[in-house]
Protein backbone atom coordinates (compact mmCIF):
# COMPACT_ATOMS: atom_id res chain seq x y z
CA UNK A 1 0.00 0.00 0.00
CA UNK A 2 1.10 3.56 -0.72
CA UNK A 3 1.90 5.03 2.73
CA UNK A 4 2.73 8.40 1.19
CA UNK A 5 -0.78 8.53 -0.24
CA UNK A 6 -2.27 7.60 3.16
CA UNK A 7 -0.36 10.38 4.90
CA UNK A 8 -1.35 12.87 2.18
CA UNK A 9 -5.00 11.83 2.43
CA UNK A 10 -5.06 12.25 6.22
CA UNK A 11 -3.29 15.61 5.96
CA UNK A 12 -5.73 16.82 3.32
CA UNK A 13 -8.81 15.60 5.21
CA UNK A 14 -7.55 17.04 8.53
CA UNK A 15 -6.77 20.46 7.08
CA UNK A 16 -10.03 20.52 5.13
CA UNK A 17 -12.01 19.70 8.28
CA UNK A 18 -10.25 22.39 10.33
CA UNK A 19 -10.86 25.06 7.68
CA UNK A 20 -14.44 23.90 7.15
CA UNK A 21 -15.35 24.14 10.84
CA UNK A 22 -14.13 27.74 10.93
CA UNK A 23 -16.23 28.58 7.85
CA UNK A 24 -19.24 26.35 8.49
CA UNK A 25 -20.07 27.33 12.08
CA UNK A 26 -20.76 31.04 11.42
CA UNK A 27 -22.25 30.23 8.01
CA UNK A 28 -24.68 27.69 9.48
CA UNK A 29 -25.64 30.10 12.28
CA UNK A 30 -26.32 32.80 9.71
CA UNK A 31 -28.46 30.40 7.65
CA UNK A 32 -30.35 29.30 10.78
CA UNK A 33 -31.08 32.78 12.08
CA UNK A 34 -31.20 34.72 8.81
CA UNK A 35 -34.19 35.56 6.64
CA UNK A 36 -34.97 36.82 3.17
CA UNK A 37 -34.05 35.71 -0.33
CA UNK A 38 -30.30 36.01 0.34
CA UNK A 39 -30.57 33.09 2.74
CA UNK A 40 -32.20 30.81 0.14
CA UNK A 41 -29.51 31.65 -2.41
CA UNK A 42 -26.68 30.93 0.04
CA UNK A 43 -28.32 27.65 1.04
CA UNK A 44 -28.63 26.61 -2.60
CA UNK A 45 -25.00 27.48 -3.38
CA UNK A 46 -23.76 25.67 -0.27
CA UNK A 47 -25.76 22.55 -1.22
CA UNK A 48 -24.63 22.63 -4.87
CA UNK A 49 -21.66 20.22 -4.47
CA UNK A 50 -24.17 17.58 -3.28
CA UNK A 51 -25.76 17.32 -6.73
CA UNK A 52 -23.02 18.60 -9.04
CA UNK A 53 -20.86 15.90 -10.69
CA UNK A 54 -17.45 16.22 -8.96
CA UNK A 55 -15.75 16.44 -12.33
CA UNK A 56 -17.79 19.54 -13.18
CA UNK A 57 -16.72 21.22 -9.94
CA UNK A 58 -13.14 20.08 -10.57
CA UNK A 59 -13.20 21.45 -14.11
CA UNK A 60 -14.43 24.89 -13.06
CA UNK A 61 -11.88 25.06 -10.25
CA UNK A 62 -9.14 24.00 -12.64
CA UNK A 63 -10.06 26.81 -15.02
CA UNK A 64 -10.47 29.32 -12.19
CA UNK A 65 -7.05 28.48 -10.76
CA UNK A 66 -5.28 28.42 -14.08
CA UNK A 67 -3.52 31.30 -15.83
CA UNK A 68 -6.40 31.83 -18.28
CA UNK A 69 -8.64 33.77 -15.83
CA UNK A 70 -8.14 36.93 -13.78
CA UNK A 71 -8.76 35.23 -10.39
CA UNK A 72 -6.40 32.47 -11.46
CA UNK A 73 -3.66 34.96 -12.28
CA UNK A 74 -4.27 36.74 -8.95
CA UNK A 75 -3.97 33.42 -7.10
CA UNK A 76 -0.81 32.59 -9.00
CA UNK A 77 0.73 35.92 -8.03
CA UNK A 78 -0.34 35.48 -4.37
CA UNK A 79 1.01 31.95 -4.01
CA UNK A 80 3.91 32.29 -6.44
CA UNK A 81 2.90 29.18 -8.37
CA UNK A 82 -0.19 27.83 -10.13
CA UNK A 83 -2.63 26.35 -7.61
CA UNK A 84 -3.79 23.58 -9.89
CA UNK A 85 -1.84 20.34 -9.39
CA UNK A 86 -0.66 21.50 -5.94
CA UNK A 87 -1.65 20.62 -2.38
CA UNK A 88 -3.06 24.12 -1.70
CA UNK A 89 -5.22 23.87 -4.81
CA UNK A 90 -6.46 20.48 -3.72
CA UNK A 91 -7.25 21.90 -0.28
CA UNK A 92 -9.37 24.70 -1.75
CA UNK A 93 -11.21 22.19 -3.93
CA UNK A 94 -11.86 19.88 -0.96
CA UNK A 95 -13.18 22.70 1.20
CA UNK A 96 -15.72 23.64 -1.48
CA UNK A 97 -16.60 20.04 -2.29
CA UNK A 98 -17.21 19.05 1.37
CA UNK A 99 -18.85 22.33 2.43
CA UNK A 100 -22.44 21.00 2.42
CA UNK A 101 -21.41 18.02 4.55
CA UNK A 102 -20.04 20.38 7.19
CA UNK A 103 -22.79 23.00 7.00
CA UNK A 104 -25.95 20.91 6.84
CA UNK A 105 -25.58 18.96 10.12
CA UNK A 106 -24.87 22.29 11.85
CA UNK A 107 -27.92 23.98 10.33
CA UNK A 108 -30.04 21.05 11.50
CA UNK A 109 -28.41 21.12 14.95
CA UNK A 110 -28.71 24.87 15.47
CA UNK A 111 -32.27 24.82 14.16
CA UNK A 112 -33.23 22.09 16.65
CA UNK A 113 -32.28 24.25 19.67
CA UNK A 114 -35.54 25.24 21.36
CA UNK A 115 -36.23 28.93 20.66
CA UNK A 116 -37.33 29.33 24.31
CA UNK A 117 -33.72 28.79 25.50
CA UNK A 118 -32.53 31.51 23.14
CA UNK A 119 -35.21 33.85 24.50
CA UNK A 120 -34.29 32.95 28.09
CA UNK A 121 -30.72 34.09 27.41
CA UNK A 122 -31.80 37.20 25.49
CA UNK A 123 -34.13 38.08 28.35
CA UNK A 124 -31.05 38.16 30.58
CA UNK A 125 -29.38 40.69 28.30
CA UNK A 126 -27.21 38.32 26.27
CA UNK A 127 -26.05 39.60 22.87
CA UNK A 128 -26.59 37.37 19.81
CA UNK A 129 -22.93 36.24 19.95
CA UNK A 130 -23.16 35.41 23.66
CA UNK A 131 -26.37 33.47 23.03
CA UNK A 132 -24.65 31.57 20.24
CA UNK A 133 -21.51 30.77 22.22
CA UNK A 134 -23.12 29.93 25.56
CA UNK A 135 -26.48 28.42 24.60
CA UNK A 136 -26.76 27.34 20.96
CA UNK A 137 -23.28 25.89 20.46
CA UNK A 138 -23.18 23.81 23.69
CA UNK A 139 -26.71 22.51 23.05
CA UNK A 140 -25.85 21.59 19.45
CA UNK A 141 -22.41 20.13 20.19
CA UNK A 142 -23.39 16.69 18.86
CA UNK A 143 -23.94 18.23 15.42
CA UNK A 144 -20.46 19.77 15.63
CA UNK A 145 -19.02 16.26 15.83
CA UNK A 146 -21.25 15.00 13.01
CA UNK A 147 -20.18 17.94 10.88
CA UNK A 148 -16.46 17.33 11.48
CA UNK A 149 -16.69 13.58 10.88
CA UNK A 150 -18.71 13.92 7.68
CA UNK A 151 -16.37 16.61 6.32
CA UNK A 152 -13.35 14.42 7.13
CA UNK A 153 -14.68 11.17 5.67
CA UNK A 154 -16.12 12.87 2.62
CA UNK A 155 -12.74 14.42 1.89
CA UNK A 156 -11.00 11.07 2.37
CA UNK A 157 -13.35 9.57 -0.22
CA UNK A 158 -13.25 12.28 -2.90
CA UNK A 159 -12.04 11.22 -6.32
CA UNK A 160 -13.38 13.28 -9.21
CA UNK A 161 -12.36 16.68 -7.91
CA UNK A 162 -8.88 15.44 -6.96
CA UNK A 163 -8.26 13.86 -10.32
CA UNK A 164 -9.41 16.95 -12.23
CA UNK A 165 -7.68 19.50 -10.05
CA UNK A 166 -4.66 17.67 -8.69
CA UNK A 167 -3.88 15.01 -11.20
CA UNK A 168 -1.83 12.16 -9.78
CA UNK A 169 1.45 13.48 -8.41
CA UNK A 170 2.96 11.18 -5.75
CA UNK A 171 3.37 12.98 -2.42
CA UNK A 172 1.63 16.11 -3.67
CA UNK A 173 -1.81 15.21 -4.98
CA UNK A 174 -1.99 11.40 -5.13
CA UNK A 175 -4.56 10.55 -2.42
CA UNK A 176 -5.52 7.08 -1.31
CA UNK A 177 -8.57 6.85 -3.55
CA UNK A 178 -6.48 7.84 -6.58
CA UNK A 179 -3.81 5.34 -5.56
CA UNK A 180 -6.51 2.64 -5.38
CA UNK A 181 -7.61 3.47 -8.93
CA UNK A 182 -3.98 3.28 -10.10
CA UNK A 183 -3.41 -0.10 -8.46
CA UNK A 184 -6.50 -1.56 -10.12
CA UNK A 185 -5.40 -0.17 -13.50
CA UNK A 186 -2.05 -1.92 -12.97
CA UNK A 187 -3.84 -5.18 -12.11
CA UNK A 188 -2.29 -5.19 -8.59
CA UNK A 189 -5.41 -6.51 -6.82
CA UNK A 190 -3.63 -7.50 -3.60
CA UNK A 191 -2.38 -3.98 -2.94
CA UNK A 192 -5.70 -2.53 -4.13
CA UNK A 193 -7.49 -4.71 -1.62
CA UNK A 194 -5.30 -3.45 1.25
CA UNK A 195 -5.88 0.16 0.21
CA UNK A 196 -9.63 -0.34 -0.05
CA UNK A 197 -9.66 -1.94 3.41
CA UNK A 198 -7.90 1.09 4.93
CA UNK A 199 -10.45 3.43 3.31
CA UNK A 200 -13.28 1.25 4.57
CA UNK A 201 -11.81 1.22 8.10
CA UNK A 202 -11.46 5.02 8.19
CA UNK A 203 -15.07 5.52 7.12
CA UNK A 204 -16.49 2.91 9.48
CA UNK A 205 -14.51 4.19 12.49
CA UNK A 206 -15.68 7.74 11.84
CA UNK A 207 -19.32 6.75 11.58
CA UNK A 208 -19.03 4.59 14.71
CA UNK A 209 -17.82 7.69 16.56
CA UNK A 210 -20.99 9.54 15.50
CA UNK A 211 -23.31 6.76 16.61
CA UNK A 212 -21.44 5.71 19.78
CA UNK A 213 -20.99 9.10 21.40
CA UNK A 214 -24.69 9.84 22.07
CA UNK A 215 -24.96 6.39 23.71
CA UNK A 216 -22.14 7.27 26.09
CA UNK A 217 -23.80 10.59 26.90
CA UNK A 218 -27.10 8.85 27.69
CA UNK A 219 -25.25 6.97 30.46
CA UNK A 220 -24.52 10.36 32.06
CA UNK A 221 -28.21 11.11 31.94
CA UNK A 222 -29.06 7.88 33.72
CA UNK A 223 -26.61 8.70 36.51
CA UNK A 224 -28.28 12.10 36.92
CA UNK A 225 -31.65 10.38 37.29
CA UNK A 226 -30.30 8.12 40.03
CA UNK A 227 -29.06 11.14 42.02
CA UNK A 228 -32.46 12.75 41.68
Amino acid sequence: MDLEALWLTLRLAGSTTAILLVIAVPLAWWITSGRGPGRALVQAVVALPLVLPPTVLGFYLLVAMGPLTAPGRLLMRTFGHPLAFSFSGLLIGSVIYSLPFAVQPLVAGFGAVDRAYVEAAEGLGASPWKVFGTVVLPMARASLLTSAVLAFTHTVGEFGVVLMLGGNIPGVTRTLSISLYDLVQDGNYAAANRTALVLLAISLTALLAIYLLPTLRKTDGRQADIVQ
Binding site: A116, A121, E122, L124, G125, A126, P128, P138, Q228
Partner: protein
Protein backbone atom coordinates in the same frame (compact mmCIF):
# COMPACT_ATOMS: atom_id res chain seq x y z
CA UNK B 1 -42.52 56.72 44.01
CA UNK B 2 -41.70 56.70 40.27
CA UNK B 3 -42.81 59.14 37.64
CA UNK B 4 -44.26 57.41 34.65
CA UNK B 5 -41.69 54.68 34.32
CA UNK B 6 -43.04 52.91 31.29
CA UNK B 7 -45.70 53.98 28.83
CA UNK B 8 -47.18 51.40 26.54
CA UNK B 9 -49.80 51.64 23.82
CA UNK B 10 -49.94 48.68 21.46
CA UNK B 11 -52.22 46.83 19.10
CA UNK B 12 -51.39 43.31 18.03
CA UNK B 13 -53.20 40.37 16.48
CA UNK B 14 -51.97 36.86 17.08
CA UNK B 15 -54.17 33.83 16.49
CA UNK B 16 -57.53 34.32 18.19
CA UNK B 17 -56.29 37.12 20.46
CA UNK B 18 -56.66 40.69 19.37
CA UNK B 19 -54.68 42.93 21.68
CA UNK B 20 -55.39 46.63 22.23
CA UNK B 21 -53.59 47.68 25.38
CA UNK B 22 -52.46 50.98 26.87
CA UNK B 23 -51.15 51.67 30.36
CA UNK B 24 -48.40 53.41 32.30
CA UNK B 25 -46.31 52.03 35.12
CA UNK B 26 -45.87 54.35 38.12
CA UNK B 27 -45.48 51.96 41.07
CA UNK B 28 -42.51 49.81 42.11
CA UNK B 29 -44.42 46.54 41.57
CA UNK B 30 -47.28 46.21 39.12
CA UNK B 31 -49.17 43.00 38.40
CA UNK B 32 -50.88 42.25 35.10
CA UNK B 33 -53.90 40.32 36.34
CA UNK B 34 -56.42 38.39 34.27
CA UNK B 35 -57.62 35.00 33.07
CA UNK B 36 -55.47 32.92 30.75
CA UNK B 37 -55.83 34.00 27.15
CA UNK B 38 -56.31 37.64 28.09
CA UNK B 39 -53.00 38.61 26.49
CA UNK B 40 -50.88 39.23 29.62
CA UNK B 41 -47.90 37.21 28.41
CA UNK B 42 -47.99 38.84 24.97
CA UNK B 43 -47.78 42.28 26.64
CA UNK B 44 -44.73 41.12 28.64
CA UNK B 45 -43.12 39.63 25.53
CA UNK B 46 -43.70 42.87 23.63
CA UNK B 47 -41.90 44.87 26.33
CA UNK B 48 -39.05 42.33 26.40
CA UNK B 49 -38.67 42.51 22.61
CA UNK B 50 -39.79 39.01 21.62
CA UNK B 51 -42.99 40.23 19.97
CA UNK B 52 -43.10 42.94 17.31
CA UNK B 53 -46.46 44.72 17.75
CA UNK B 54 -48.58 45.50 14.67
CA UNK B 55 -48.85 49.10 15.82
CA UNK B 56 -47.96 51.25 18.81
CA UNK B 57 -45.04 52.08 21.06
CA UNK B 58 -43.29 51.27 24.33
CA UNK B 59 -41.30 54.02 26.05
CA UNK B 60 -39.16 53.46 29.14
CA UNK B 61 -37.34 55.34 31.86
CA UNK B 62 -36.39 58.88 32.85
CA UNK B 63 -34.72 59.44 29.48
CA UNK B 64 -37.86 58.18 27.70
CA UNK B 65 -36.02 55.58 25.68
CA UNK B 66 -38.13 54.27 22.79
CA UNK B 67 -38.01 50.45 22.96
CA UNK B 68 -40.39 50.01 20.06
CA UNK B 69 -42.39 52.42 17.92
CA UNK B 70 -44.04 51.39 14.69
CA UNK B 71 -44.51 55.05 13.65
CA UNK B 72 -40.83 55.83 14.07
CA UNK B 73 -39.80 52.39 12.73
CA UNK B 74 -37.85 51.68 15.90
CA UNK B 75 -37.44 48.18 17.26
CA UNK B 76 -34.69 47.60 19.80
CA UNK B 77 -33.55 43.96 19.94
CA UNK B 78 -34.05 42.33 23.39
CA UNK B 79 -30.42 42.54 24.48
CA UNK B 80 -30.28 46.31 23.95
CA UNK B 81 -33.36 46.94 26.11
CA UNK B 82 -33.09 47.98 29.76
CA UNK B 83 -35.29 45.01 30.55
CA UNK B 84 -34.57 41.64 32.18
CA UNK B 85 -37.13 38.87 32.09
CA UNK B 86 -38.06 35.37 33.25
CA UNK B 87 -40.56 33.45 31.14
CA UNK B 88 -43.27 31.21 32.56
CA UNK B 89 -41.50 28.05 31.43
CA UNK B 90 -38.15 27.98 33.20
CA UNK B 91 -35.67 27.13 30.46
CA UNK B 92 -32.50 26.63 32.49
CA UNK B 93 -29.18 26.13 30.75
CA UNK B 94 -28.73 22.38 31.16
CA UNK B 95 -24.97 22.34 30.77
CA UNK B 96 -24.54 24.73 33.73
CA UNK B 97 -24.94 24.51 37.50
CA UNK B 98 -27.54 26.48 39.47
CA UNK B 99 -24.94 29.09 40.40
CA UNK B 100 -23.79 29.48 36.77
CA UNK B 101 -27.40 29.88 35.67
CA UNK B 102 -28.10 32.61 38.22
CA UNK B 103 -24.85 34.41 37.35
CA UNK B 104 -25.50 34.20 33.58
CA UNK B 105 -26.91 37.70 33.04
CA UNK B 106 -24.92 39.54 35.70
CA UNK B 107 -23.05 42.52 34.31
CA UNK B 108 -20.66 43.56 37.07
CA UNK B 109 -17.63 41.68 35.75
CA UNK B 110 -15.52 44.77 36.53
CA UNK B 111 -16.44 44.47 40.24
CA UNK B 112 -16.16 40.72 40.83
CA UNK B 113 -16.44 41.00 44.64
CA UNK B 114 -19.69 42.99 44.49
CA UNK B 115 -21.01 40.63 41.86
CA UNK B 116 -20.29 37.59 44.01
CA UNK B 117 -21.95 39.25 46.99
CA UNK B 118 -25.14 39.94 45.02
CA UNK B 119 -25.05 36.43 43.58
CA UNK B 120 -24.87 34.88 47.06
CA UNK B 121 -27.65 37.17 48.28
CA UNK B 122 -29.95 36.24 45.40
CA UNK B 123 -29.24 32.54 45.90
CA UNK B 124 -30.10 32.90 49.59
CA UNK B 125 -33.18 34.97 48.88
CA UNK B 126 -34.61 32.33 46.56
CA UNK B 127 -33.63 29.47 48.95
CA UNK B 128 -31.08 28.12 46.48
CA UNK B 129 -27.88 28.28 48.53
CA UNK B 130 -27.75 24.54 49.24
CA UNK B 131 -28.55 23.76 45.59
CA UNK B 132 -25.97 26.19 44.17
CA UNK B 133 -23.54 23.58 42.83
CA UNK B 134 -26.17 21.16 41.59
CA UNK B 135 -26.61 20.25 37.97
CA UNK B 136 -29.88 21.83 36.84
CA UNK B 137 -31.08 18.45 35.51
CA UNK B 138 -31.37 17.24 39.10
CA UNK B 139 -33.88 19.92 40.14
CA UNK B 140 -37.62 19.60 40.75
CA UNK B 141 -40.11 21.80 38.89
CA UNK B 142 -40.44 24.28 41.74
CA UNK B 143 -36.67 24.51 42.17
CA UNK B 144 -36.24 25.16 38.46
CA UNK B 145 -38.71 27.99 38.64
CA UNK B 146 -36.87 29.58 41.56
CA UNK B 147 -33.62 29.41 39.58
CA UNK B 148 -35.34 31.00 36.59
CA UNK B 149 -36.63 33.91 38.71
CA UNK B 150 -33.30 34.26 40.55
CA UNK B 151 -31.50 34.47 37.20
CA UNK B 152 -33.64 37.40 36.05
CA UNK B 153 -33.41 39.14 39.45
CA UNK B 154 -29.59 38.90 39.50
CA UNK B 155 -29.42 40.24 35.93
CA UNK B 156 -31.76 43.15 36.71
CA UNK B 157 -29.95 44.19 39.90
CA UNK B 158 -26.54 44.26 38.22
CA UNK B 159 -27.78 45.99 35.07
CA UNK B 160 -25.53 48.97 34.28
CA UNK B 161 -27.52 51.75 32.68
CA UNK B 162 -28.88 55.24 33.18
CA UNK B 163 -32.12 53.82 34.62
CA UNK B 164 -32.66 50.67 36.63
CA UNK B 165 -33.65 47.70 34.49
CA UNK B 166 -37.31 46.79 34.41
CA UNK B 167 -37.83 43.25 35.71
CA UNK B 168 -40.50 41.20 33.91
CA UNK B 169 -41.70 38.06 35.69
CA UNK B 170 -44.29 35.80 34.07
CA UNK B 171 -46.07 33.92 36.90
CA UNK B 172 -42.94 33.90 39.07
CA UNK B 173 -44.56 31.93 41.89
CA UNK B 174 -46.91 29.82 39.78
CA UNK B 175 -45.33 26.42 40.41
CA UNK B 176 -44.65 26.89 44.13
CA UNK B 177 -46.67 25.63 47.07
CA UNK B 178 -48.58 28.10 49.31
CA UNK B 179 -46.27 28.71 52.26
CA UNK B 180 -43.06 28.97 50.24
CA UNK B 181 -44.80 31.15 47.66
CA UNK B 182 -45.97 33.66 50.31
CA UNK B 183 -42.58 33.75 51.95
CA UNK B 184 -40.67 34.23 48.68
CA UNK B 185 -43.07 36.85 47.35
CA UNK B 186 -42.61 39.08 50.41
CA UNK B 187 -38.84 38.62 50.69
CA UNK B 188 -38.38 39.26 46.98
CA UNK B 189 -40.62 42.33 47.02
CA UNK B 190 -38.76 43.89 49.96
CA UNK B 191 -35.34 43.12 48.50
CA UNK B 192 -36.19 44.53 45.06
CA UNK B 193 -37.68 47.64 46.66
CA UNK B 194 -34.39 48.16 48.47
CA UNK B 195 -32.56 47.99 45.13
CA UNK B 196 -35.25 50.22 43.53
CA UNK B 197 -35.86 47.66 40.76
CA UNK B 198 -39.26 48.20 39.12
CA UNK B 199 -41.21 45.00 38.49
CA UNK B 200 -44.02 44.06 36.14
CA UNK B 201 -45.29 40.56 36.81
CA UNK B 202 -48.10 38.42 35.46
CA UNK B 203 -50.53 36.56 37.69
CA UNK B 204 -54.02 35.12 37.80
CA UNK B 205 -53.83 34.62 41.57
CA UNK B 206 -55.67 37.17 43.74
CA UNK B 207 -53.82 36.10 46.88
CA UNK B 208 -50.49 36.89 45.24
CA UNK B 209 -51.65 40.39 44.25
CA UNK B 210 -52.79 41.17 47.81
CA UNK B 211 -49.62 39.71 49.25
CA UNK B 212 -47.44 41.95 47.08
CA UNK B 213 -49.67 44.95 47.84
CA UNK B 214 -49.12 45.78 44.23
CA UNK B 215 -50.64 48.09 41.69
CA UNK B 216 -52.91 45.98 39.49
CA UNK B 217 -53.66 46.26 35.79
CA UNK B 218 -56.67 44.02 35.23
CA UNK B 219 -56.87 42.61 31.71
CA UNK B 220 -59.57 40.66 29.88
CA UNK B 221 -59.84 39.62 26.25
CA UNK B 222 -56.85 41.62 25.12
CA UNK B 223 -57.86 44.88 26.79
CA UNK B 224 -57.15 46.76 30.00
CA UNK B 225 -60.33 46.83 32.13
CA UNK B 226 -59.05 48.74 35.12
CA UNK B 227 -55.86 49.95 36.80
CA UNK B 228 -55.21 50.91 40.43
CA UNK B 229 -54.26 49.66 43.90
CA UNK B 230 -55.05 46.01 44.50
CA UNK B 231 -57.69 46.81 47.19
CA UNK B 232 -59.65 48.86 44.67
CA UNK B 233 -59.27 46.88 41.47
CA UNK B 234 -59.68 43.39 42.87
CA UNK B 235 -62.13 44.09 45.72
CA UNK B 236 -65.16 42.93 43.73
CA UNK B 237 -63.29 39.82 42.56
CA UNK B 238 -62.30 39.11 46.18
CA UNK B 239 -65.91 39.46 47.45
CA UNK B 240 -67.15 37.15 44.71
CA UNK B 241 -64.57 34.53 45.65
CA UNK B 242 -65.41 34.84 49.38
CA UNK B 243 -69.11 34.43 48.62
CA UNK B 244 -68.32 31.35 46.53
CA UNK B 245 -66.30 29.92 49.42
CA UNK B 246 -69.16 30.55 51.90
CA UNK B 247 -71.67 28.78 49.64
CA UNK B 248 -69.35 25.79 49.47
Amino acid sequence: MFNSLLTLDIRHHVGAISLDVAFSLTQPWTVLFGPSGSGKTTVLRTIAGFVRPDAGYVIYGSIEQVLVSTDERIFLPPYLRPVRSAAQTSKLFLHQTVRQNVAYGMAWQSHPDDEREVLDEVLGLMRLTTLADRDTRQLSGGERQRVSVARAVAAAVTYDGIDKALLLLDEPFGGLDGVLRDELAIVLRDWLTRWKIPVLSVSHDIGECYLLGAEVVRMAEGQVMEQGPVEVVLDEERRRLMKQLRTV
